[in-house]
Symmetry: C2
Subunit: 339 residues, 2 copies
């Protein structure tokens, strides 16, 4: 059993996805797409720095519909942009070519939060073409929503949920360090944040609304924000020098209020030299506390996308979310059927 | 919106389930069943030591079919015995009365492991009567199977999974301490274990096979066992005195082999004065380690059963397992619909 897959978007995450799909014996990577003229036409091996040619050349998205159909692609692993209004036309093209779409676009993890009308359009179109569309990733998609939701399954009552993700920004790729504004003076940081040049993390509201929906809670409101953390000593990463008083990282957060009180709180600390961990604390019956030694973000996001492939075969068509599908997990072998 | 529910089995777990169902404003507890003549006829309030009468009297299981139908029961929360061959006739009666069944019977969590023929019979009958049957609990059902499965969703590769659950047996109820043989001399312990008078934990094989199926892995074999832990100093619990050299707890384990190597290993340490925690370690890409401060077992099992109620409304009929249903979680309000 081998499933025909395409990768759409060959940035850092898309490249990781492609690399991992090539390793999976049950997945057959037959097409790859990117807008970058420097990438188009190249064998994927060149882009991924693999020794052996893959036979898959990067195509322009203008060829997407034709390529997906002629190659019988069943699943597009999509990793281009963050905001659904930008990726919407891309998703539509995949749907019309009859392919299921698993995307790492952050706002697609719960598109009803920020783009309810586009979400409805995608849902209707996916049903019409009998395909599934879903957004996932490590975050949104796992740490701040899917995982805490599952952890509460052992609770008869939940009064509040607090999730913290703390990571060492120095260990992340260059584009991550740039989009978090490491090393910038405070004024420059604020100006760039203002015009959207620094995105940092997007998805606090998506995670909170997704978690609330999973738990059947109607929140009063959701608040989200991000503020710079300032270096108390000078340091440097592989890519950036950080002087005292400049930005050493970001603290981002989201809060979901229920009956006027904080019901869901998520905190992200991404800073140079910070301890790596995640922690989920549930004030409930019973009370719970789970803590990790950290989760490598990029590979985790690639994994979340790839690992959904066998889960989608068990659900109906439409726009789905992580709370709508059977238990996510890794898979070792598509061909080993469950009972 | 209020859903009509019955509780079948009023041992320690069944009583907890009944107590929690009575607290849920969306669940309407309309019937309760137990074989114990001392319980039959009593108002549940008396059994649960509640101040206010519930109006629900304990009935004999001989009245089950009639009572479920006349009360329009949609879900039976079933908590009687461990082994499926014992509970099979009970499940059948519920199915024939048109009720969905959520059971804490350990071997029903993955009945294909120990009772494949009974599993098939239940599956066919559940489909015929258009109801869902599922087994769950904290363990099997969560710590050793559902949770580690979800944690691997961020991994592109998994080489091995090791789950440890460590609990302080002194903090558990009397029947738990008795079934683990606390305070017994070693010979007596072995003799009682031999004749099945001490059950300790049942479900290592169920958890491992369920986790393997979720990950699409065909294991070579599964081994399971339990051995006594011996007290090095004398101590006592609320119910049992433990002298030096007698049984202070149990170490139980299960191992699932893949290609001749340990792929899944689960360890349970239930001993007096032991630290309470769970830990999941995944050797994979990325590697993972998650650790808790412990999960109170009885309330967690009651929660797992109750919390599946809204999840079952989204799946087709038949015998299901934790890997077949949408993301388990607590729920605050049945009436708040998801998108």
């Amino acid at each position: 059993m081998s499933l025909r897959v395409a990768v759409y978007g060959l940035g850092p995450i898309g490249q990781l996805i492609a690399r991992e799909v090539l390793k999976k014996k049950d997945l057959n990577l037959v097409a790859a797409f990117d807008v970058d003229q420097k990438k188009i036409g190249k064998d994927l091996a060149e882009l991924l720095m693999l020794n052996d040619k893959t036979g898959v050349h990067v195509s322009s998205p203008s060829e997407l519909g034709m390529m997906l159909k002629s190659n019988g692609v069943k699943v597009v692993l999509h990793s281009t942009l963050t905001y659904l209004d930008h990726v919407y036309p891309q998703i539509v093209k995949c749907i019309k070519a009859g392919a299921n779409v698993i995307s790492t676009s952050e706002t697609l993890s719960n598109p009803y939060y920020r783009y309810p009308e586009l979400a409805e359009l995608i849902h209707e179109m996916a049903k019409k073409y009998c395909v599934t569309v879903i957004g996932t990733g490590v975050n949104p998609g796992f740490i701040f929503d899917t995982l805490p939701a599952l952890l509460t399954a052992v609770c008869t009552e939940v009064h509040s949920i607090h999730v913290t993700r703390s990571l060492d920004a120095a260990k992340r790729r260059e584009s991550f360090q740039r989009k978090y504004g490491l090393g910038l003076g405070l004024d420059k940081f604020k100006a760039k944040m203002e015009i959207g040049e620094l995105t940092a993390h997007v998805g606090y509201g998506e995670s909170i609304s997704l978690l609330a929906d999973t738990l059947h809670v109607k929140l009063d409101k959701i608040v989200e924000g991000q503020e710079p953390l300032i270096a108390g000593s000078s340091t440097k990463t592989q890519y950036v020098t950080i002087s005292i008083g400049t930005v050493s990282g970001i603290h981002g957060y989201g809060i979901g209020f229920l009956d006027g009180k904080e019901f869901i709180k998520i905190d992200l600390f991404a800073e140079v030299d910070r301890e790596e961990f995640e922690e989920v604390v549930v004030d409930g019956n019973p009370p719970l506390k789970w803590r990790s030694t950290g989760t490598a973000g990029d590979i985790a996001t690639a994994a979340m996308a790839i690992n959904l492939i066998p889960k989608l075969s068990k659900v109906g068509p439409g726009l789905l979310r992580m709370c709508d599908i059977p238990l996510p997990s890794t898979f070792l072998n598509l061909g080993v059927n469950q009972v």
